[in-house]
Each structure stands twice: as structure tokens, then as C-alpha cells.
Amino acid sequence: MTQTANLVRETDNDFMVSSRAYTDPAIFDRELQRIFENGWCYVAHESEIEKPGDFRTAAVGRIPVIVSRGDDGGVYVNINACRHRGTVVCHEERGNTRFFVCPYHGWSYRRDGSLHKVSARSNFPEDWGHDIEGLVPAARMANFRGLIFASFAPDAMDFDEYLGPLKRYADFWFDHALDGRVRVHKPWRAVYSGNWKFQLENSTDGWHARYVHVSALRTLAKFGEYNPKVGWPGCTRGFANGHGILERPRGDIPPELKPTFDLFRSRLQEKYGDERGGEMFARRHITVFPNIQLMEFKLRVIHPVEVDKTIVYEFPVELLGTDEEINRVIRQRLLTEVSISSGSPVSGMVNADDVEIFARTQTGLSSGRMRWLRFARGIHREVMERDNEWRGEDMDELPQRALYREWARRMA
């Protein structure tokens, strides 16, 4: 029996998480079941499967799934396993197909996962097999502005309720596209030697940058792309159900790109009004618990592999309906510049140092003697912004506390 009691401890002035949360394989197994398979897990973006027959394979915890576009234009999430003997029916990452045909004995399924044919049907009794409907579908599915989430718990919380007040900010993120929609491009893919929650915590951690990213900031300053004299105001936000935000003004724009970003801001204010447009135009890292983060013009998806091994995908986004000039500059900063926004945790200036820290932290925790890790910065100044939403200062460990409050609830 996995011991999950007392993995998170909160008092009026302290917040602690057991180091076992990052090192115990039994806890990891429980996370995959409780948090990933029975919660809401992000699986794919709608733009990856635009046409009927488009598919991509993904995972919900340890469940392999196919996310596909049916002939009816609907999105389907099914377990990637043949109803006959359980063989994976699709082993490509993405593509387009008329049928998913099992390579073992040739049973075939339609684009929506329904059963097309049992091969050699005449060899079975007439009245046999009428209960076989097709691939096993996810119990629940949600599509939030193109982000597709799946759950294998029939009684999973309604997705709108799950998102709660985070929706306001997730909408801001999508509304940066003047059509309200984004298209994702193929991702950077990185694997790091550490627990999945390090990446989840880190993307909304406003405190670490001045230490972990000192070399990146020094480099950008040297090349005139970052002004150390500009402060880093902003805030952190924590939400019910584990979501969180790190929010900062867009202050790191190099002078030659400023006209484009000014245009960008004015486009948003024209469309949404001065107030909403201005509020939207901030740099936000938004965690939708447990495995997707809406970052600066990219989606970050976290895939836990083992207790100490994690894959991170970073999908650059294109803002549909937005001026090509703006998309071009965003692309340039993401793809071909070693900049703060640049994406690759493998070779990038910023993210590569994050995953290095994750590996160093996993090493430090391997002693098993680090009983409690601390997440207390700013615990005395959490302000309730509205129901289910709290705000803190920009370097407070508030999003991490929100994350672990939910984590503890789900693991209990």
C-alpha cells in the first residue's frame, strides 16, 4: 500500500512537500492513475488533426491513445489497442488514414475508432461479437479553444468547472490571435533526468531566473537584448484544481522589435478595447494542471516517463488572423534566435539551464534524507483575488502551493 498521507504539510507560515514525491516509484504510479488517467490530461491540439482521417498518437498517463478526426469532423480519443488481442493499432506519431488496421490479425477500425471489420468473419458464430463496438474511447473529452483534454474517469469534474477562473487568463492567451485560434507547429523534444513536477513547478517560478538564467541574462544584456535596469514587476496567481500563472509585463523586447510589439498591442486594443487589450498584453506562463503550460507563444507539454525521467515538448504557435509581420517576429524570436523566448530545452539559452537544474535536484534528492522541501515564499501575503483564485508577488511560491494543494487532494 502506497503511503500518501502527510506528503504535503501546510501551516499558517510554512508549506512543505515530502521529497518522496519526486523519488518514490510507487508514488509515481499512483500519480499516473490518480492525476493523469483519472483527471483531465491534455493530449493534442486540434490544429494537429485538421482534416478527416488526421491522427496523432499520445498518452494519458500510461494509456496509449489515438487522437483522430472522424469523417463527421469530430475529434475522437481512443485507446490505441486492438479489441482482439490488445496490439497497438497505430504506431506512427502522426499522419492521415482511412482505417486503423491492426497489424496482428487485421481487424480494422474507422477514423472515429468504431469497428469496421473483424477479419475472416465467417469463421465466427453468427451471434458472436456484437458487443464489440470499436476501440475503447476515453470516458470524457473536452475541447477548450482547440486544446483537447481526455479523462478515463466517467465521473471526472466538468471541464469548465475544472478550469474555473483560470479560463479568464487562458482566454487572454488565445485572444492574442485575432481569429481567436492558434496553429501549433512541430515541437522541440527534450528528455531530462528528473521528476515531471520539476518542470511543472518551474514554469511559474519567478524567483529562479536571476540565479539559473544569470548567464542567459548576461549574454542578452551584452547583445543589447535585455536591460538589467528594467525591473521585473508582475505577479503570481494560484487557482483551485492546481492551476497557476506567472505574469510579467513584456519588458524584454529588443529596441529593433519594439515597433512590431507596439503594433501587436494596438491590434489587441483595437479589437478588445483599451482596458482588456492592455491587460491581455502581458507575458504569462499559464499552467493547466497537470501537463500543459501556455507559454510565451508556445505550448509546453510535460510527459512523465519514470519517476526520474521526463519528456518535455515545446510547440511553437502561430496566431491565426494576426498580421504576418507580428507572426514573423514571434517566429524569429522563437526559432532562429537564442533569446529568452527561444524554445529548446536541449540547446537553448534559457531552458537548457532549467533542465540542468532539474537533473541536479534529482541528484540531490536521491539521498532520501531530504525529508521536506520548502515552498513558503510569500505564504503570509496570499491575497484572494476572487473565488478560487489567489494572487501573490512575482517571485512568491504561490503557484507551486496551489499545485501541491491539488496534488495532495488527488493523491489522498
Binding site: 527534450a190 547583445f223 526559432l335 532562429t336 537564442v338
Partner: protein
């Protein structure tokens, strides 16, 4: 077999001369002489490590796609406490299967070769620390476009095709 230059029947740069440049680059990298490495490139030179070599690097992600300014930034960061390169990777480049062919422009050649890059970050004598003291071998194909400028051959582009370029990768913050 490349197109001939019309005089000798061979590309304008001999295999031996091309090897000299590629080997020199390998040595500069293996000896941490990054500033000298920068000077091997033409002003418009590109150092790239694609994850999909058929994709447009201005639209789709690359592992690395560096122009001169990005290469300078990369080297500056290597010299300024880049955590992922603290300690710096040690590398040994093995280069083989080198072929030279004439490129489209008269003063350019394409050089194709295979490489094995052995890499390790030193610093952990007990073998406890993740990411350190673990020698890795990175097999790759390389394509260089070399251009003669003022009677000197420089790298107009260097493309490194890692064998696992479309899989999730670990630390490549050193120069391939």
C-alpha cells in the same frame, strides 16, 4: 562524383584540403577554442542542427539554427557560467567518409562526411551526479558548404544531422 571545374576534372577544392578544414574545426572544438571556431565561418554562415532537414528553419523548429550573431551569443554564454555547460563538455570529434563535390556557385564546394562525437562532462568522481561523467556517443552526418573568400576557404553552412534528431534529446549545449 562532383561537377568538374573544366581544367583538372576535379572539384575546385581537393579532398585533402577539405579534410584539413574539417579536421581543424574538429580540433578547435575539442580544444575549447570557440572564438577561433567562430572565425571559420563566412559572415552569412549558418550552423544548423535540424530535427527535420526537409522543413523550413524559418517556420519550423530546429535543434539549432545559428547565424553569426547567434553563434557569438552561444560562445559568449559558454564563457559566462552557462549552467548546462558548467563544467564544459569535453568532446572528441571523429570524422570519416569525407566526399567533396562541386556546389552550384563557382567558388563553393559541398563536403559530406560522417562523424562520431564523443562527449562527456567531467567533474563527478563518484558517479552520483546526473548528467556528469557519462560518456555519450553522438553519431551524425554532416554537410558543409565551403566558400572561397579572399583565397581562403570558409564555412558558409554546416548542417549536422544527428541520428536521433527527431527524438527527445538530452543536453546539446556544447558545439557539435
Amino acid at each position: 562524383m562532383g561537377k568538374a571545374d573544366g581544367v583538372s576534372g576535379h572539384p575546385v577544392l581537393s579532398r585533402r584540403e577539405a579534410e584539413k578544414l574539417v579536421f581543424r574545426e574538429a580540433r578547435l572544438l575539442d580544444e575549447d577554442r570557440f572564438e577561433e571556431w567562430l572565425k571559420l565561418f563566412t559572415g552569412d554562415g549558418i550552423y544548423s542542427v535540424p530535427s527535420d532537414e526537409t522543413a523550413d528553419p524559418a517556420v519550423e523548429t530546429s535543434i539549432i539554427h545559428d547565424d553569426a550573431r547567434q553563434r557569438e551569443k552561444r560562445v559568449f554564454q559558454l564563457r559566462n557560467r552557462h549552467l548546462a555547460q558548467d563544467p564544459l563538455s569535453r568532446t572528441i570529434h571523429f570524422v570519416s567518409n569525407l566526399e567533396v563535390e562541386q556546389a552550384g556557385a563557382p567558388d563553393e564546394v559541398l563536403v559530406r562526411c560522417n562523424a562520431l562525437i564523443a562527449e562527456m562532462r567531467p567533474g563527478d568522481h563518484q558517479g552520483l551526479q546526473r548528467g556528469l561523467a557519462k560518456p555519450r556517443i553522438l553519431p551524425c552526418r554532416c554537410v558543409y558548404r565551403l566558400r572561397r573568400e579572399n583565397d581562403e576557404w570558409r564555412i558558409a553552412s554546416k548542417q549536422v544531422l544527428l541520428i536521433d534528431r527527431d527524438l527527445p534529446l538530452q543536453n546539446i549545449t556544447f558545439i557539435l
